[in-house]
């Protein structure tokens, strides 16, 4: 699903440049539940941005769903994001003046779906995250856990190939963290590829595979105990 070969990325800082990713090789197959672990500055957010087509890479190859990603202009990137990727962010990133239902339906709007149909589909996904009764509430009227569940519903609504979650539990307490992770596990069980970035060991342990990143290189890539037990 995601195949990365010898990926490099640098950011210019004044006259110098900061080499953030120094040759990453990573292969994530369809249906996997992978977490990228690393402290801040390890390059994990940069990796997510590149995988999420929010930023370009300098060197190396990136295949998304078998398609080589290169020379993307903004328009193409927008179309691919809409088609293949669903995002879940640490700070939820819901649009404050739209209701939960409208937030979930927004990616379908950019897909060009008519209003009636997209509200119907959005409602199905809200139901899936058990927030059907909150459909017409604004984000400000929801708790942190509820907001993140809305964001997950929004990430899923286009039926993407991969869900990218950037510190999905970073702003939540441990109880709600667990429920959000249960939700992600649930969608993974249904066959969705889920890609989580975190710096919390407990979160990473709930995934099937942990890739540890340090100073722009992968230092370990192992299957978790949980997964090993299941097998």
């Amino acid at each position: 699903m995601i195949q990365i070969k010898n990926l490099h990325k640098s950011y210019p800082i004044g006259k110098d440049s900061l080499h953030v990713l120094k040759g990453i090789d990573l292969h994530i197959k369809e249906g996997e539940f992978v977490s990228i672990m690393g402290s801040s500055g390890s390059g994990k957010s940069t990796l997510l941005n590149i995988v999420g087509l929010l930023d370009g890479h300098d060197e190396g190859d990136y295949y998304l769903n078998g398609q080589l990603i290169e020379n993307l202009d903004e328009k193409k990137a927008a179309i691919l994001r809409n088609k293949f990727l669903g995002f879940v962010f640490q700070s939820f990133n819901l649009i404050s003046y739209k209701t939960a239902l409208e937030n979930v339906a927004l990616p379908l709007y950019y897909k060009g779906m008519n209003r009636k149909e997209r509200l119907k589909i959005a409602m199905e996904y809200l139901d899936k995250v058990e927030l059907k009764d909150w459909a017409n509430h604004l984000p400000s009227e929801l708790s942190g856990g509820q907001k993140q569940r809305v964001a997950i519903a929004r990430a899923l609504v286009t039926n993407p190939k991969v869900v990218l979650a950037d510190e999905p539990t970073g702003a939540l307490d441990s109880t709600t963290s667990d429920s959000v992770m249960d939700l992600l596990k649930g969608i993974n069980n249904e066959g969705m590829t889920v890609f989580v970035i975190t710096h919390e060991e407990e979160i990473a342990e709930q995934t099937d595979r942990i890739v540890r990143l340090k100073d722009g290189v992968i230092i370990s890539d192992e299957v978790t105990l949980k997964k090993a037990k299941a097998v």
Binding site: N49, L54, D55, E74, A78, I79, S91, I95, L106
Partner: protein
């Protein structure tokens, strides 16, 4: 291309940010309001000017003569020029095609008495066509006709105020009054839009006056009404031609301005036209200046709004919004605000103008208004303004990188 969803998005965003939408609309509304008021006032001024010239028919010219101030063809300076019947016939014959109406005038001051009342009035001895050239309105009876001319009838058409002075509320038509010792019959009563002085006049046939006052064929003034189809420039040229011919006929030096003059309404009209044109230019200049300030204001506020909504645009892009969709949204919002605000200003302006109506007539502003053409033009200008005001901020919004926007917590 009507995209209901796009409109829904825009209304939602405007509704969410009501204060700043109103604020940004305000500058444009104010600019259009100012423009409408200025334009209306100038049109009011223009109306007053037009009115000032509509006392008499617009397509007229008046030929008057005095004493010569230059020797010519062996004739001395100071010679008194006198218009006569033959001059009128000459003009009539020479310019038959161009002239619609013609009349002579003889001025006298007369004492009119009826029973025990008497007063002095201005008398004009005229031809029947004078009624059209002066736009005299007959209230009762009739005007002077050809038969009166032929018979040299002792008849009078008296002004409304003369009638009031002399007869009060009693009927005047058919009564006989005494003018300088001779008895005349009142055959008509008239009114005139030219003001009170024009209604303190009495008219009699030109032939009667010539017989009574000196028994000659003298005339004081010749007034002709030319074909209204002539353009202003053609009318001015026509006036110059008559002037040249008359100077030749009366042996007056071509440059002797004090011996003969033609007052051509076309020239006055042209002058007023140019003056109004200059005023309109000033209004357009001031108005567009204000509008540009309004556009810059909107553009500024939109840029600020884009900053405020950076994160929202970032989210939208992450979810698959293409740059063109972001540009379209911002521009459309800007056009919507500009158009609504502009129309609010325009409506308020036209409302104020219609309220003023004729209230400022004392200040030479009569019935100020804006024409349909101006309203249509303003609509186009507003939409274009909205496009311009929205484009720069929209470009900026489209350039927002989702990662930057999403990091901005």
């Amino acid at each position: 291309m009507f995209d209901l969803d796009r409109w829904r998005e825009i209304f939602q965003s405007i509704n969410k940010n009501r204060l700043r939408s109103v604020m940004s609309g305000f500058t444009v509304a104010f600019a259009i309001l100012l423009f409408t008021l200025l334009f209306g006032i100038v049109s009011g001024l223009s109306n007053s000017f037009k009115d000032a010239f509509t006392d008499d028919a617009m397509n007229t010219m008046r030929l008057r003569v005095w004493k010569t101030s230059k020797p010519y063809k062996g004739l001395q300076t100071g010679r008194r020029i006198q218009l006569k019947n033959e001059d009128l016939s000459f003009i009539k014959k020479t310019y038959e095609d161009e002239i619609q109406h013609f009349t002579a005038r003889i001025y006298k001051n007369v004492n009119i008495s009826y029973k025990n009342k008497q007063d002095n009035y201005s008398l004009r001895a005229v031809h029947p066509d004078h009624q059209f050239l002066e736009k005299t309105i007959i209230d009762e009876g009739r005007y002077i006709n050809e038969l009166d001319l032929k018979n040299k009838s002792k008849v009078l058409v008296i002004g409304r105020l003369v009638k009031e002075d002399v007869f009060g509320n009693k009927p005047a038509l058919g009564k006989r009054v005494n003018v300088s010792g001779i008895s005349y019959k009142v055959i008509g009563i008239f009114s005139d839009d030219g003001g009170d002085n024009e209604e303190r006049i009495v008219y009699m046939p030109v032939t009667t006056a010539q017989m009574i006052y000196g028994n000659n064929d003298y005339l004081d003034q010749i007034i002709v009404g030319y074909d209204p189809k002539l353009s202003l420039d053609e009318a001015i040229a026509f006036g110059n031609k008559i002037e040249r011919d008359m100077r030749k006929k009366l042996d007056i030096h071509p440059d002797d301005q004090s011996a003969l003059s033609i007052r051509n309404m076309a020239e006055a009209n042209k002058g007023v036209g140019l003056f109004m044109l200059a005023l309109y230019f000033i209004v357009i200049f001031v108005g567009s200046g204000t509008l540009i300030a309004g556009i810059i204001g909107i553009s500024n506020i939109m840029i600020f709004v884009i900053k405020e909504r950076t994160k929202e645009f970032g989210i939208r892009k992450a979810l698959g919004a293409q740059p063109s969709s972001i540009i379209g949204m911002v521009v459309q919002e800007s056009v919507l605000i500009t158009t609504i605000a502009g129309y609010a200003g325009l409506s308020l302006g036209t409302y104020i103008l219609s309220t003023i109506g004729d209230g400022l007539e004392d200040y030479f502003i009569k019935d100020p208004n804006v024409s349909t053409g101006i309203v249509v033009g303003a609509t186009i200008v507003l939409i274009v303004s909205g496009l311009i005001a929205g484009y720069v901020p929209a470009k900026r919004a489209a350039r927002i990188k989702p990662i930057v926007a999403l990091r901005a917590d």
